[in-house]
Symmetry: C2
Subunit: 416 residues, 2 copies
Amino acid sequence: MSNVRRIGPSSENTRSAILDLVRSSGTVSRIELAEMSGLTATSITRIVKSLIDDRLVIETGFGDSTGGKRRSLLEINPQARYAVGISLEDTRLTYVVTDVGGNVVGQLVSPGIGQSAPSTEILRIADELQQVFQQLDIPTEDIVGVGVAGAGLDLGAGAERLSLTADEWDSFAVQEALESLISLPVVRDNDAACAALGQFWVGRIPATQDFATLYMSRGFGLGLMIGGSVNRGASSNIGEIGHMVVDIDGPDCWCGSNGCLEMLAAPRAIIARAMAEPGLADDLGLGGDDGRLRADYDAIARAAVRGDERCVALIERSARYVAAAMLSAVNLLDLDRIYLAGPGFADAGAIYVRAIRDAVTRLARTRTIHGVTVELSDPGLETSAVGAATLALQHVLTPHTRAERASARGEIPVRV
Amino acid sequence: MSNVRRIGPSSENTRSAILDLVRSSGTVSRIELAEMSGLTATSITRIVKSLIDDRLVIETGFGDSTGGKRRSLLEINPQARYAVGISLEDTRLTYVVTDVGGNVVGQLVSPGIGQSAPSTEILRIADELQQVFQQLDIPTEDIVGVGVAGAGLDLGAGAERLSLTADEWDSFAVQEALESLISLPVVRDNDAACAALGQFWVGRIPATQDFATLYMSRGFGLGLMIGGSVNRGASSNIGEIGHMVVDIDGPDCWCGSNGCLEMLAAPRAIIARAMAEPGLADDLGLGGDDGRLRADYDAIARAAVRGDERCVALIERSARYVAAAMLSAVNLLDLDRIYLAGPGFADAGAIYVRAIRDAVTRLARTRTIHGVTVELSDPGLETSAVGAATLALQHVLTPHTRAERASARGEIPVRV
């Protein structure tokens, strides 16, 4: 029965949807909730009471009178619950604790996973989580869970092929291993999906507004939010935009194909060109080896922002490929809103924004029908960690589809 | 309030979902419906009774006993309702009448729209619809509506920019104009979306199984079925795969971009190469002008199927670009099922199937996790017309989201 979607009206779904409306509205009255949801005033009163009893929603003053008694306004109680998000990377681990409003209330950065094997790293992560908890001045019981973000493929049944240097991560069940060490539910998703969810939550985007988040780290990923959920595809591996073919006669890619976006536009390709540029490696102190990838890329990106013309040309070359891929995605999916997130856009994000904006404004098939907004993501550098925390919050507080609940249990989700 | 999704449990949605389960199951018992839907036996009994009263579902014998009384089996009553689908093209108009089972019970083919203006053509279409109705031996009141499929952009508010030769079609409200001439609801969508919906309905695909249909006519379109609905994007213009950039340094496209799939792989590009091949135009009797596009392309495709090596090379060249675009779509959207539909695949479809199958089997990022099925679409040549008819059936019989109802009224739909 796992491939069958349950369609019965679920009170859990309804409650989730109301909480989500309060979250995206800022402040809202019961009458407005009834109008927006199509539910009766009686149902809204009952659901709001349960959310207030649960401290998730608070009454926060009064709105305009409508003739009768004044309408009390509701809003999310940010301090009602907290979650931890972890971003797993070769070069560093980022832990953030966010409240229900998406505000970061705690943070820890530690060395990346590098060449280490999962059996030792997972113990370190559990230790560092304890450190994070101890620093916080909040009741432990208000922490609802831990979300983990990392690049890689979802292999199903809880395992994933993480894009980390040591081979042992190839089919390691991060979620399961971490859950056995800490007494909290653990959920995981890829970094692009987490970044999209972080934007959704922190940016108070309503569930009716779909968008895509392009995530750039060592490679690229595209997170797609459709109807307030991360769209997942047949095996939760949606968004592999790094392997979109942008140059059919282009260079071979490690994936077996050729002319992939990643081979032409990712940090490694940019650094390889920089190393071939006479004098540039010395000027910027580039290492050129894989262990220095993040540092080298950041140096090039910062030099481009300072106006070093050689580096501007390198980043603009990358941005041209990224813009072509995003134009293809806009045409294919009729997108009207794109965010850029991840360390790849930390310094030179503005150059990428300009290139993508130019391409979709001039060239998208729908350009006469609607604009396409292109912006850097709100949560900034820590976007995938913040997104991982909101993944845990959404998982527990607004599990509005059976698919999401199944996914949170580590099953291959039913598509909705 | 138009951007707000109603989330209240709707009895109409539930009834639609149950009818859809019966449709995709073939035969099914009430107990199985309860298991699949998560609804109570009492609810199922009540909903099934309303469907039987409405003649949409019939009892059709008995399944295995489960100890108590034998379970009566249900199935769709194909003859309960009918709809007409129209495929609008430059070179011909195709009308089909299908029953609820997707069976074609009537058909009419007439000359294409060519250079004619909509004001005269729409009167001819209304006339031809009357001819179609008169040939049928079914009660008029059982015809629920008319669906129209055509290539082009949805401009919103009922108008569309149809890809037809005469400029007057640029912002003509086909749906509204036709509705004013006949006494039936008219719905419309692009040909790729209709082809996907036709496959869904005729192929008895369950709503839980997502897939994409690549449609090839003068250009390309990709119809995406997600959760039993056509996915529409920000402005109902999803699926413009013909303007995916597959060669970033490729030739200029009329859309303003360059290296688009359409410029490299569509019939016009294939014919241009054929005309440049010494002797081939004479051998095949090619005209080379735009009015002969369909005939020329069909001649080349048929020669390729007969083994003419020059034509095999031309089609394989096109198929290589199509395969790269579909590999990109598979990676971007994590697809596991692709159908090919439309006149472009009528003769040489097998060559395209082979090229796409080879690319996604060897190269998709998810190849170790799940296979990707690539097949020619069931409804064959008339797939977009059949799909347009099922669009009208779905619109009336299983309007399972508010978005679809809004869309059917010609509003810009809320995304779900």
